[in-house]
């Protein structure tokens, strides 16, 4: 009987110890983390001859703010994306799959540099990947 109670007590304790769900936003490093990831992406774009021309007429501070808002909102942070839809913002830019792949590589590099856990990286990539259809060949 005592054994049983101990077993039940152990099970309950184990169940309670389940760590509370930490939001993806927190695991990306919250406000500072998301800002650093966005800065990492911007650095990657700036040094990538294959895609930098797409940003020649871009207001970079505004683009940075919108990207931070978007990453923050997507990952469950306390922000609201105030930009236009992905489809709207990319139509007419003749963005190819190679351009999209290049951007994904820059994002991965930025997340790696911030030591974001691989689970969080994958969860975030899962949210961004479907944007392909709204961005490429528009």
């Amino acid at each position: 009987m005592v054994k049983y109670l101990l077993l039940i007590a152990t099970l309950i304790l184990t169940a309670c110890q389940q760590k509370p769900e930490i939001s993806l936003y927190q695991r990306l490093g919250a406000e500072t983390g998301v800002e650093k990831i966005v800065d990492g992406v911007l650095y990657g774009i700036e040094h990538d001859q294959s895609i930098v021309q797409h940003f020649a007429d871009t207001d970079i501070p505004r683009f940075r703010r919108l990207l931070i808002e978007q990453f923050c909102e997507l990952s469950g942070g306390p922000c609201k994306y105030t930009g236009v839809s992905m489809q709207e913002s990319h139509t007419g830019f003749q963005i190819t799959q190679a351009h999209f792949d290049a951007l994904v590589n820059h994002l991965i590099t930025a997340m790696q540099q911030q030591n974001v856990a691989i689970e969080a990286q994958n969860e975030f990539l899962a949210m961004l990947a479907p944007m392909y259809k709204d961005v490429v060949y528009r």
Partner: protein, 275 residues
């Protein structure tokens, strides 16, 4: 074996040379028939890292060592636009116990028809054609094969599911192949009253991170020659994508019975260079 290791050392030492835009590991490894896939199954992936409007080339060498046989494969390939893949592979099966060797050449072409491995809900789907030609046909003819050459069609569907198992990405592949080959063609093609068969092949690969993956494959085999049973193939492997220029795959294979010699199991080692 020494050649394979030397090639790997050279590749790693060469550092990050020209490579396409695709994300690392998304070109797959190169299977023993020379096209992008796992170890024994062709996938819908296009070899190398060429994304849209980009070219890439690749070279590979692989050895399968089981109880009574050793299969060496090596070859080259070229890909364009993440859509077309052309490959050539040369195979030599050493009959370590029986004596002698069986050689064949494989010319392959693959065309991606739909989907994007990473980015669309629809799996990436590709069609493939392989032309195979024996360079040794005395033994295949003696055991009942009718032709020293044959062709195979396949359709493959492959998709990466992000954050699928323990936060890791999971690649699943299914391939259906139309073939009249015996032991993948090393024992010839067709024969008296023997026709084409549709065979199912599959792969499941867990990407532990961007560079390391573990997987398993199944390859259904026809069993058409009377002289000995041909059995389905299976493997377990670990792949290391060192960078976009070099990868190595180490595995365990179970090739079942071959030419009357039972339970052929052993290792698989493959190295690939992509540029």
């Amino acid at each position: 074996m020494k050649t394979i290791l030397t090639a790997l050392c050279l590749l790693v030492a060469s550092g990050s040379l020209m490579a396409g835009s695709k994300v690392i590991a998304t070109g797959g490894a190169t299977n023993i028939e020379g096209n992008s896939g796992g170890g024994i199954v062709p996938w819908a992936t296009i070899n190398g890292y060429s994304s849209s409007d980009e070219w890439s080339v690749n070279a590979f060498a692989a050895r399968v060592g089981v109880d009574d046989f050793t299969l060496d494969s090596y070859g080259v390939g070229a890909s364009f636009n993440n859509q077309w893949e052309l490959s050539f592979a040369r195979q030599k099966l050493e009959l370590d116990t029986i004596g002698g060797e069986l050689r064949q050449d494989i010319l392959g072409i693959k065309y991606k028809v739909a989907g994007e491995l990473l980015y669309t809900a629809m799996p990436q789907i590709s069609l493939g054609l392989q032309l195979k030609k024996n360079r040794d046909f005395a033994l295949p003819a003696a055991v009942g094969a009718g032709d020293d050459s044959g062709y195979e069609f396949y359709i493959a569907a492959t998709k990466v599911f992000f954050d699928a198992v323990a936060g890791r990405n999971l690649l699943l592949n299914a391939t259906v192949r139309s073939t009249d080959a015996h032991q993948t063609g090393l024992l010839g093609f067709g024969g008296q009253g023997l026709g084409r068969k549709l065979m199912f092949e599959s792969s499941a690969v867990l990407l532990l991170n961007y560079n390391l993956a573990v997987g398993t494959e199944f390859k259904q085999k026809p069993n058409q020659l009377d002289f000995a049973d041909e059995q389905h193939w299976r493997d377990l492997f670990a792949a290391w994508f060192i960078n976009k220029n070099a990868s190595v795959v180490l595995g365990y294979v179970d090739l079942g019975d071959i030419a009357g010699l039972t339970e052929q199991t052993g290792f698989y080692l493959s190295v690939e260079g992509t540029w």
